[in-house]
Each structure stands twice: as structure tokens, then as C-alpha cells.
């Protein structure tokens, strides 16, 4: 039974790796240095290494322009409110707000070249390659819809996320070590949210996508960090009582230590 499941898993894996590009026979493989990032009390962010190779066979047509790669790392989904302030009667007040619904908490676009040099605007838009083409649905009344690229709220959201290192577009982050072997690093800042992360690797040649593969990793809390987080969520009353008791103990202890009279 067990053998059959793993056989099925292998078959599935092979299926996943089959290139989706039409006539082209290139394949792209990718692997990430660590599939499980553990957050401990000393975590201050890290860089994950992603590497892989482009595989060609006899039927592959020669590529004059060489290969280009776009790696997209997408974090867990969240809903974020973006607000705009305006001066009303002399003071700055939030006058307008937009909700971005189920947008990635983390988004990194790593490429060998600037996106517009890899693919034409039509392809870039269809494949949602760069940050500018990423789908960011907003709550508009009862509907969910993305807006034009230069919408001020959309631009402000991208800018504020980028300032915190949670969104990034790095045009020269993917490097080819040999004509077929590539490597890049995924920078995860200290505030990176925990959850599942998807990696999507696209291979381009002659302004067209010729192969695609995906991988994933997860960020989890372990040890003491996980213990505290679980306690706060699942045993909230006990957690609250112990925190309050800890406060009283600390206060009482200090008054003993510092007693002079």
C-alpha cells in the first residue's frame, strides 16, 4: 500500500515536471536549499538559495538569445487596508481607504534581466510577471477587481510593502553559473510572515515562455517561539492568567530585591 502511494507520488512529481511549453523540449528544474525555515528566538531574517538547471534534449531548437529566468516567490495571503490622509480643517485625517483582498504577504520577483527585456508587455501582463503586473484585487463596493497599474492606492501599497522588504523586484538576482546552471537567493526579512510559500520558475527564450516549474517551502515557528504562540492561541485564558501572574511576581520580586527599609 505504502509503496503504491509513493509510486503514485513519483508519477505525480514527474507529471509536474513535464514542461508546459508547446514545441520546445527544454525542461527546467529547481530546488530550494531549505524546504522548512524554522523561526527560533535568534531569527533575524535569512536568504534561501534556489538553484537548478535548464535541460535540453536532441529536439530542442537552438536559442540565439540565450535563456532568461523569472522566479516568483509568493507568501501566504492576507487582507490589507491602505488609507490616504488629507488635510481637513487644519488636521490630517484618513479620508479614503481601500482593502486589498487576499494579496500575498510576501512577493519576490527575481529575474536575470529587467522584465521588459525578457518578455514583451503583452506576455508580461498575461503571465503577471513583475510587481507592476501582479494581480492585487481591491474591494470596490460588493465587487472584487484589480485596477489600473498607476492607481495611487495600488502604487502606495506596492511602495509601502517594498519599503518593509516584503515585496521586491530584483532584475539581476538570477545568475547563470554555466549556460544551463542557474542560481538565485530569496531574501526573507526578519518580519517575514509564517506560512506556506510557493516558488514559480519560468524559463524564457526569444521573448517566449518555454518551460515552467514550481517548488515550495514553509516558514514555521519552532521550540519556545512555537510554544508561546500556541499557548496564546489555544489556551488563551491560562496564558492570560500566567502573564498577569508573571507581572505580579516580577513586581513583588523587585520590591523584595530593592527593599531598603
Amino acid at each position: 500500500m505504502r509503496a503504491r502511494i509513493s509510486l503514485a507520488a513519483c508519477a505525480l512529481l514527474v507529471l509536474c515536471c513535464v514542461p508546459s511549453g508547446p514545441a520546445a523540449a527544454e525542461r527546467i528544474v529547481a530546488s530550494v536549499s531549505n524546504h522548512r525555515v524554522r523561526i527560533t528566538s535568534s531569527f533575524t531574517g535569512l536568504e534561501l538559495v534556489l538553484f537548478g538547471s535548464v535541460e535540453r534534449d536532441g529536439t530542442s531548437v537552438p536559442r540565439h538569445s540565450g535563456y532568461d529566468i523569472v522566479v516568483t516567490v509568493t507568501g501566504p495571503r492576507e487582507t490589507v487596508v491602505t488609507r490616504r490622509k488629507e488635510r481637513v480643517a487644519g488636521i490630517w485625517v484618513n479620508v479614503e481607504s481601500r482593502s486589498f483582498v487576499d494579496v500575498p504577504a510576501y512577493l519576490a520577483v527575481l529575474a536575470t534581466k529587467p522584465i521588459d527585456a525578457i518578455a514583451g508587455p503583452e506576455v508580461a501582463r498575461r503571465l503577471r510577471l513583475g510587481l507592476a503586473d501582479t494581480l492585487l484585487p481591491q474591494q470596490i463596493g460588493a465587487d472584487l477587481a484589480d485596477v489600473v497599474r498607476d492607481d495611487p492606492f495600488r502604487m502606495a501599497f506596492l511602495r509601502l510593502k517594498s519599503d518593509r522588504g516584503l515585496y521586491l523586484e530584483a532584475p539581476n538576482a538570477v545568475t547563470f553559473l554555466t549556460p544551463t546552471l542557474y542560481r538565485t537567493s530569496i531574501p526573507l526579512p526578519a518580519e517575514v510572515p509564517i506560512g506556506e510559500y510557493d516558488i514559480d520558475v519560468k524559463l524564457f527564450a526569444d521573448n517566449m515562455m518555454v518551460a515552467r516549474t514550481s517548488s515550495a517551502f514553509e516558514i514555521i515557528k519552532v521550540g519556545f517561539e512555537q510554544f508561546v504562540a500556541t499557548a496564546a492561541r489555544d489556551y488563551s485564558l491560562l496564558y492570560g492568567l500566567s502573564t498577569a501572574a508573571m507581572a505580579l511576581m516580577t513586581g513583588w520580586f523587585a520590591s523584595i530585591v530593592f527593599r531598603r527599609d
Partner: protein, 307 residues
Amino acid sequence: MQIYLPIADLPVNVFLVFAMGLAVGFISGMFGIGGGFLMTPLLIFIGVSPAVSVATVASHIAASSFSGVITYWRRKAVDFALATMLLAGGFIGTGAGVWIFTVLRSIGQLDLAIALSYVILLSTVGGLMIAESVRAIMRQRHGKPVELRRPGSHTWFHGLPLKLRFKQSRIYVSAIPIWIIGFIIGFIGAVMGIGGGFLLVPMLIYFLRVPTSVVIGTSMVLTLVTMASATLLHAVTNHLVDAVLALILMIGGVIGAQFGARAGQNMRGERLRLLLGMLVLAVGLRFAIGLILKPDDVFSIRLLEGE
């Protein structure tokens, strides 16, 4: 030394947080205030989300006020009878405050309401305290006796019924103004997310004529009870109390509060009130500047809570 906070989800420098706890603890021990109106903005400034800041600060204040209560209690500078009466009004006020909080949030201008009430309340209270204490200091300079407590002078609420005698504070007043003061403190505390000590101290001094020495210890008892219950409430409802952050703040806070309490005891009442008035006014003005000046970025993002 960096440490990753399990609930706030970000690494902080242990020594920086410890120093913040120490500084705010000193101030809270000295003036008998919780210091929440100082600590919450500081935590937000180092990157902790506002919701986690408010929830965690409550436990920090509980710790430093408990150590303060013990210190003042040993010096017989706590009026427990008065504190109990104030708490009775305070609980009703907290309930009303939470209700208004929900209403304001549904209208969508809670942030503005909080900032505006900080400005109005802190500037008014700070200004009044400065004016009064400067007058008291001037009177002293001119060789006139300090006239804070005039035994013969009665205000209108001394005629109210339900009179009670508070031996520790040496006052004989109606329970009604005490309940009203407790209600106001509880209400404001719930709406603005502060302990309200900086409001309670002047109210007790000016309206009830409680001696300055007893006021601080008594106010700390009130702060302790409200903040310990707030910690529990935040932990149960929002799961946002960060115990690791709280512990670092607490240790700094209680040490600071010990030294603060000593410094406060050695200082003259009107000097203490002048300093507190200046501090309160400064924070109020800081909020006013934040509202008036053009912000660096007119846009802001915030994660939608409660998912």
C-alpha cells in the same frame, strides 16, 4: 542582542526594550502613573503593531504598578478604602467605554478620535497642572504658606449625600464624586487604551483634596487592578499579549519604578506636579504636531485584524 518575539513576529534588541522599560518605569514610579501613554507610542515606533503594543503594555504596567503599590503600602501611603470606591465607578466606566469604542470603530474614525482626545485631554490637563503648580511655587517663594488644603473651604459637592470618611486620606466626602471620577477614568481608559493615572492623580488632588503623598499609592492600586484585568481581557479576546516582550519590559519597568518611587518621595509635591504637568503637556503637543504637520507619507497600510 536580538531576540525574536513570538506574538509580535519580529526581532527586537533586548537592551533597547529593557532600557525603554527602565525609563518608563522610573517615570511611572515617580508620578504614580501607569506610563501607558508613553510606552505604547514607543513600542509602535520600534515596529510592534499597535494592537500588540496596547495589549502587551497592559501587563508591563501591571508589573510596575504592583511593585509601586508594595513600596507605597510599606510607607502607609495607600488608601485602600478610597481605591475600592474608585474601582466601583471604574468598572461601570470601562463597560461604557468599550461600548463607545465599538461605535466609533463602526463609524470608521477611531484613530482620529483617539488622537484628538489625546491632544485635548493631555494639553488641557498638562496646562492646568503647570499653571497650578507654578502658582504654588510662587506663593512659597513669597513666603506665604502653602494653601492646598483649606480645612474650612467647601465646594458644592461637599453638600452631597452618602458621605464617607477616609481615614488614610483625612477627607470626609460624598461617595458620588468618587464614583464619578472612577467612572471617567474607566471610560477614558477603555476608549484611549491608557491606565488613566495621569488624570486620576490631579483629580484626586484638586477635587477631593487628597494629600499628594497618598494620591500616588492609591492611584497605583487602581492602575494595578485595571491593567491586570486588561491583560487577561486582551489575552482571551485578541490573543495579542506577547509574553516575551512583556517580560523584558517588566523587568526594566519594575527596576525603574523602584528608583522612581524613591525619587518621587524625596521631591516636593508642587515640583512633582509641575514635572508631571510638563510631561503630559509635551506628549499632548507631540500628538497635536502629528495631526497638524503634513505626514511623510499620506498613505498607510494596516493588516486587517481578526481573520
